[in-house]
Structure formats: structure tokens, C-alpha cells
Amino acid sequence: MNTAHAIKESKASAQAFFSMRDVHAYYGESYIVQGVSFEVQESEIVALLGRNGAGKTSTLRAIARAPQPRVTQGEIRLDNTALHTLAPHLAARAGVQLVPEDRRVIPGISVEENLIVAQVAKPLGWNLERIYEHFPRLAERRKQDAATLSGGEQQMLAVARAMARDIKLLLLDEPYEGLAPKIVQEIESIVAQIKTLGITTIIVEQNAIAALKLADKAVILDMGQIVFTGNAQDVLDDRKLRDRYLAI
């Protein structure tokens, strides 16, 4: 091993797979993300929790480099790539994949076309065959306009579309929101499958218990700042902490 390589290796091992350092972000004039720092190790699942308006979705959107909120300060790194300087499509190509809160399946085109659109830019993940194997419901509806799918099916499509890309970091924003309990179970089993694949994931979820059962680590946000970082099990065990920041 030459010296330069050795230095690079040691630097990489010192840095977490994903990290946010002192990130500040604004929606217009509103100061939403107020100096957030946390790390995620490779293959880890982190539950990002907090009350409504705590800045969870904004944090995910900042990582995915959405135009809003506007990041004014701080660093976001994934696998040694500086994300905070990238345009959203370049962040996606660097391996960030957001499954947004409102699913954002594209209406007016079919289920299959929604998946094809995810495979326009490299690097690619699962091919259609593999996606349909894991999501047989989508295979049945492949020719259907994506807008005609039920909420649960749209969520499946949103997750499947993410799997169509080669992901280093999956950002799941409220995957269970607005779904019937039976459908939630179905999506939960899909997310559990994703966990077995070892994809590094940050999950934001109002249903904190569900997220915590799935996650290795928990990060709790309050008023745009981090108030807790630790094991997911610790949050499940600490009633006081949950009462104070999560109200569950």
C-alpha cells in the first residue's frame, strides 16, 4: 500500500459514512434547521424524530439538496462526497435518494414509466424485473396511470422507484403517513426487507414507535436543533424522553 493510499484509507475510516456538521437552513425568512450535526454509519438505520415542525422533513430535504430549505452554512458528506455544494440531480447521482412525504409519484404517466424515469440517470439499481418480483402489486398495475393508484400503492411505487436507483443513502419521509393500518403493515414489511439489504437509511416518521422498532439509532430534533442522539432502544425504554419530545 503506498503512502497516499494509506492516508486516504485512514481519513476515510475517521469519517462517518454520512455526516452533517452544523447545518443551518432557511425556508424564506424562517430559520428551520438550526445547526444540526449527526453521523450515520454504513448500513445503519436512523430514525429522525420530533414533533410537527421540529425540522425533520427540512433536514431530509436539505440532505437531498432540494431548492427549499436553503442551506446557508454547514457541511453534508456522504461517502467522502461533499453534498452541500451539489445540485439536487447531482446529489441523487452521488447516491442520495429521497422518498418524499407526499410520495410524488408522477401523474399522467404509467407505473412502469414512473420506474423508467428513475433509470434515466446513472447509477442504476434494480432492473424492472427485480422490482416487479419484490412488488408484485406494481407488476399488476404496470400499465395504469400512476395517479389512479391507492395511497398504499403509490407509497410502494415511491419506494420501488428509489430502488430503481443505486442508493448509498435512502431518505424515507413519513412512509406510513395517511395509510390504513393494514397497508402500513405491508409497507413496514417492505422497509424491513430494505433493512436486510443493508441500505443506509434515515427514516422520518410521526409513528415514532414503528420507526424506532426498525431503527438502530435515533436522533431527536426539537425546534430545529438536536436534543438527543443515541440507540433506538434507549428511546423506546425512556418514557420521560418520549413524553418530552415526542408526545407518545
Binding site: H89, I106, V117
Partner: protein
């Protein structure tokens, strides 16, 4: 139905299609740009104008067929350059700002051409093969007696149909088209999927300009080539877009046909013809405020 009436109706319908064809080509570009980029491009008439002027000069120097290939290609570059150089900075600004800057561009183009070539019409001679008339009764057996229609106007209709079909195939059956259609619905999500949609939208702007280029080459001999033609065409073409529904390509086609017919069938009553376009707009918008195929949330 008497033979004369059938003859007259056929001519009116063809004239309507021809008038609609010019509007359709301009409105297609307008609505394509609006639907993808959300920009109301008031400079679109100026693009037609530039194309018509270029076509006159190139066809005089190099022949008409050279103009058919060169002008749309040049216009594509003009459109692409315009988007990358100027319009791009206006996406996040209000529609009124976009209208002001594109309208300003239109005025600058118009006055610039006036300054360079004068305000008079520049003769745009038809190519030899396009002159003369077509004896319609030879092709349409239901016509009675001698029914003639200018050959160039038929060419115009055919060109418009060809452009519309090509655009339809491009948008409906290619991967590029799929990305554009998806981008029209949710460009932000496409970015999250790694697609550099802005780059493709610049190509769309170029395509809109290219279509205006085709319209300028074939429409120039019909609409005349003078600095005010751009604005004269822009207003009805913009109404075509509004009547069809902002951002709907199908709507733009249907409404250009409706307007062409309305103009053709009122040709004998010039007072009515002058207001018919606006009358149709008022009626359609009263019944369907979003236009024929307008979608909820677009430009609202």
C-alpha cells in the same frame, strides 16, 4: 345540399385549416415552453419574425430548400441560447417579470429589424414548385365543377400536420419525450431521481423556437415579412394557448383549428371577423375558465 354549397364549405374548411396551421405552429411552441418551463414567452412572435427574415435572405441566396433546413436549425440555437443566457434567470421570478422581459425582447427585435430593413414588407417569393393552384375537384370527387385552392396554402397545412405528428411521436414514444412529459408534471421529483431536467428543458425551448422557425419559413410568404408580423401573430396564438388550456398541447391544436375555422367562416363579414377570435375566447373561458384542456393549478 347543392354543389355550390359543398364547394364553398370545402374551401372554407381548408382555409380554416390553413389559418389554424400557422397559429398551431406558433401556439405549439408557446405551450410547450409554458408547459415545461412555466414561462410565458412573449418573445415567441419575435422568433417567428427572425425566422421569416432569415428565410427570405437565405432562400434568395441559397434557395428555398436551404432555408427549410438552415432556418429551423438556427432558430433552435437562438432558442437554446436565449434560455441558457436569459430566460433561465427568470424561472423563480413572478410571471409578470417573465412577461416583461420576453415582451421587451420582442420589442427590441421588432425595432431592430425596423432599423435594419425598414418597416415595409419584404417580398418573399414562393419557390417555383409552390406557386399556382390545386384543382381540388381532381382529388375530391364530391366537389362539383372547378374548385381551386392555392397550392402553397395546402403545403402549409401539410407542413403543420407533419410537424405536429413528429412532435407527437417524439413526446409520446421516445425516452426523451417521456422525461419531458414527466418533467412537465413534477420537475423537482425528476431532479431527485438524478435527471438534469434543466438541460432538457433548454432543448425544449430550442424545439419551440425551431417550430417557430418552420412556421416562419413556410408562413412567411403567406403572412408577409415585416417587423409587426410577430406581434400580429402572437396575440391570437397566445389566445389559442389560453383557449386550449395553458400547457396542453392537444388543447392548443384543437383551439387553433377552432380559431382558424371561426376566422375562415366569418371572412365575408369583416366586422365580425375582427372580433371573432376574442368572442370565441370569451365564450370558452366563460364555460371553462381553465380553457378546453386546462389542468387545475396551472397558472392559477
Amino acid at each position: 345540399m347543392s354543389g355550390n354549397l359543398v364547394n364553398a364549405l370545402t374551401l372554407q374548411v381548408l382555409t380554416g385549416m390553413q389559418l389554424g396551421a400557422v397559429y398551431a405552429l406558433i401556439a405549439l411552441g408557446l405551450t410547450l415552453i409554458f408547459g415545461t418551463l412555466g414561462v410565458v414567452n412573449f418573445a415567441h412572435g419575435a422568433l417567428y419574425l427572425i425566422a421569416a427574415y432569415l428565410a427570405v435572405f437565405i432562400s434568395t441566396e441559397l434557395g428555398f430548400f436551404a432555408a427549410v433546413f438552415i432556418v429551423p436549425a438556427l432558430l433552435f440555437m437562438v432558442g437554446w441560447g436565449l434560455e441558457r443566457g436569459l430566460i433561465k434567470s427568470f424561472y423563480s421570478r413572478p410571471h409578470t417579470d417573465q412577461i416583461l422581459v420576453t415582451f421587451g425582447l420582442a420589442l427590441v427585435t421588432e425595432e431592430g429589424l425596423k432599423w435594419a430593413f425598414g418597416s415595409n414588407n419584404i417580398p418573399f417569393p414562393l419557390p417555383q414548385w409552390g406557386t399556382g393552384i390545386v384543382k381540388l375537384q381532381e382529388y375530391l370527387p364530391f366537389l362539383d365543377g372547378f374548385v381551386a385552392f392555392p397550392k402553397w396554402r395546402l403545403v402549409m397545412i401539410l407542413v403543420a400536420l407533419t410537424v405536429i405528428s413528429l412532435l407527437f411521436v417524439l413526446l409520446k414514444f421516445t425516452r426523451f419525450g417521456l422525461v419531458i412529459r414527466a418533467g412537465m408534471r413534477d420537475s423537482g421529483m425528476l431532479r431527485f431521481l438524478g435527471v438534469n431536467i434543466s438541460q432538457r428543458f433548454a432543448v425544449v425551448f430550442g424545439m419551440g423556437a425551431l417550430i417557430a422557425g418552420v412556421a416562419g419559413v413556410f408562413g412567411g410568404p403567406i403572412t408577409q415579412v415585416s417587423p409587426d408580423v410577430g406581434m400580429h401573430l402572437l396575440v391570437p396564438s397566445f389566445l389559442v394557448v389560453v383557449i386550449g388550456g395553458m400547457g396542453s398541447l392537444g388543447g392548443a391544436l384543437l383551439s387553433s383549428l377552432i380559431l382558424g375555422m371561426a376566422l375562415s367562416f366569418t371572412a365575408e363579414y369583416s366586422a365580425v371577423q375582427q372580433i371573432i377570435v376574442y368572442l370565441v375566447a370569451v365564450i370558452v373561458l366563460l364555460v371553462r375558465p381553465r380553457g378546453l384542456f386546462g389542468k387545475q393549478g396551472v397558472f392559477e
